[in-house]
Symmetry: C2
Subunit: 417 residues, 2 copies
């Protein structure tokens, strides 16, 4: 069962926005056994859209388009769909009622002809209700294939996919199973791993594919199996992972699942009834952002002191100035102090603290660019580790964030907490 | 001058990563007058890659591929390029020296055959040095068209584009100018704007295109002109923007330029020698992250107190508990207190403070979901504003961040600071 995604709009092509819709769609479709074989971003022009639809129809069973459904003149998708399906626009009464309802409730100016015209839909389509916007989704069927057209606004599209598109696709098609398992490894490059697992990789069964995904000090190994028997796929992949451990068991840290590491931390903190705070210098509030993005953060996350300036380490965390001068601002001692003092201020069970020099200049410290200290204080102890994360500012910070999350996660998995 | 981008790798199709490379490439190519007409994401399979290259060659003058150049077995792009150009791999001595150099300096395990094999390149290509990695870029020419193949790792790709690809494209082709101007409007929906500017829009000259980009309480209007005379394009667009002001001058807030609003704030803060701190509840550290991501933040950014839990507002900011109880935690009074107290703690010139209820549940306050207060304290005064940002958690937070940035920016633009 193959799908293609077509995103329509110049804003993607000129780089004004990053296309996040396609990744969401790819993940969702995969989860119901539909494989995305191509994503195509094109201009909002009739002939180009028609060609893209025809090409996709040749290769895929399901064709999903996003974008091009706004009420303004730059949006031609709906008219183009009429041409493609040899159809015409007719008034959809339910959609009109919904649009009028949205205007009554949320919009301060009166409804216009352009808004009402969004209720005119191709007669052959099934309208999919968009609770968050005025442009409905549209579902077409043609020669056994399904075409879905949705607005490009991410939260409107996501709601349509979850509530309308996926349930209908599940009903409409018998799908195979696609099973992914991603093994997380730390501390070895992709070519070194490939060398160690060459025999194992060469002996993988035909229906299992392997991919290497290196990123920021980690290499993820993704095994993918496709077939009709879900149990068989799972068992086959799990058996291969067991064999893999004989080759690189020492660098396997875990498995990527539906949850990110921060979601796992959030779950464990809540389960254990513990509280968390952060004291951030080089990570500049990113750890706090990451935790507060997860709904339910207030159950365990107290807050953060971002002491970015050296003066803030003194003025807010009350670390004595002579202590800072003695040890230098990027040092194990200062990082420990930050963790312990923030822990006392927030009265939390765990604090993670970061200092470092992300570059491009050395700032208030003598530490080499890329040097990062991370301290973890809990109710028993405070530990600190030193890292060297290279000379690329953005990557230094991201690696520091990843490492901090790992340290909290590892600590939570120890039996004494 | 048309370009196409082809990104190769299953990780994009299954949604494991978001393709940020294409947006970067789109923006960079646009800046030198090259228009991206299609972005295609495909699987790492020989026949599919060959077909995508042939299709792109029909439509575009410049074809850029990213991904598929790692040392491991899942990467077939290089061999496929040999087939496409009827070529064979030969050892590139300079690339080999570079790979050996990288291993000596940065990698703890010995160099392997798989790494050395990355120095074998198609004989017809020009190798583009990749300072950050072992896979070089490759530049091919065929029938007056240029093909560039680069690794998919974003920071390696970006460095290749800036230092190798763009300068060579500028030398190789005469390009037209593409001039964009994006007008920022606030407070009116896209259809209402379209209604107000209908006459103006209908009378735009042929070579100027208009697009509406609605997002989080703002609508951006993007005018694009293409042609050979840069001055003429700029003058024509600026003249149209002047006319536009007659229709919607009251909602035009400014223009999108190379700088984001946070970069403009950073520039103004540094120029004026002022310092900034944040006190964040509902924005949870996002404002601090945004400022510390910009290199040079230490010149003006002191830090942040993320008082996410109600207890942190008392324990860290020392707001008396009875004061919190009296006014409720999401209130104008508490937000003002947060701003003023953080200002005293950080000794900064400006503090922006946020509280609010982003949902999904009401938490420790009675405020409706979507209610956000933002306070700005400076050396003279403290002001607070109340907003209602809807019922979608992620969007409430993002709108709060946007509004806070606007408030700082507006304040900095007043003459008395």
């Amino acid at each position: 069962m193959f799908a293609e995604i077509i995103t329509i709009g110049d804003e993607i092509l000129i780089g004004q926005i990053i296309d996040t819709n396609s990744a969401f769609l790819g993940k969702q479709l995969n989860s119901i056994g539909v494989e995305v074989i191509q994503i195509t971003s094109i201009k909002d022009e009739k002939d180009i859209i028609l060609k893209a639809l025809a090409d996709a129809e040749e290769r895929a069973d399901i064709i999903i388009t996003t974008g091009g459904l706004g009420p303004t003149k730059d949006d031609l998708t709906k008219h183009t769909l009429c041409t493609y399906f040899n159809d015409e626009l007719v008034l959809d009464q339910a959609t009109l009622v919904h649009i009028e309802d949205i205007f009554r409730k949320y919009i301060s100016h009166p409804i216009l002809e352009a808004n009402r015209s969004q209720a005119y839909l191709p007669s052959k389509c099934l309208a999919l209700k968009n609770p968050y916007g005025t442009a409905p989704g549209m579902w077409f069927e043609k020669d056994g294939k399904v075409f879905v057209s949705m607005p490009g606004v991410p939260f409107e599209m996501k709601s349509l996919v979850r509530n309308e598109v996926l349930p209908r696709l599940k009903d409409r098609f018998n799908r195979p199973f696609i099973f992914h398992k991603t093994v997380l490894t730390y501390g070895l490059g992709e070519s070194a791993i490939a060398d160690k697992i060459e025999d194992w990789e060469n002996n993988l069964p035909e229906f299992i594919k392997l991919a290497y995904l290196p990123s920021l000090g980690r290499v993820r190994l993704r095994l993918t199996a496709r077939g009709d028997d879900e149990n068989l796929l799972q068992n086959a992949i799990n058996a291969q992972v067991e064999k893999l451990k004989d080759h690189i068991g020492d660098i396997i840290k875990g498995y990527e699942d539906e949850n990110t590491i921060e979601e796992n931390v959030a779950k464990l903190m809540t389960q254990k009834g513990l509280t968390l705070a952060t004291a951030e210098s080089c990570t500049g509030g990113r750890l706090a952002s990451i935790f507060t993005e997860i709904p339910g953060a207030s159950a365990y996350f107290k807050g953060s002191i971002v002491s970015y300036a050296t003066s803030a380490k003194h003025d807010v965390l009350n670390i004595p100035e002579d202590f800072i001068q003695k040890h230098s601002v990027v040092s194990a001692e200062i990082t420990k102090e930050m963790a312990v003092r923030a822990k006392n201020m927030f009265k939390s069970d765990i604090v993670i603290a970061t200092t470092g020099n992300a570059g491009p200049t050395k700032g208030d410290s003598d530490a080499e660019i890329g040097t990062v200290f991370i301290a973890l204080a809990d109710n028993e102890d405070v530990i600190v580790e030193k890292f060297s994360f290279g000379n690329h500012r953005e990557r230094v910070t991201k690696k520091a964030v990843n490492k901090a999350l790992e340290m909290i996660y590892d600590r939570l998995n120890k039996s004494d907490l």
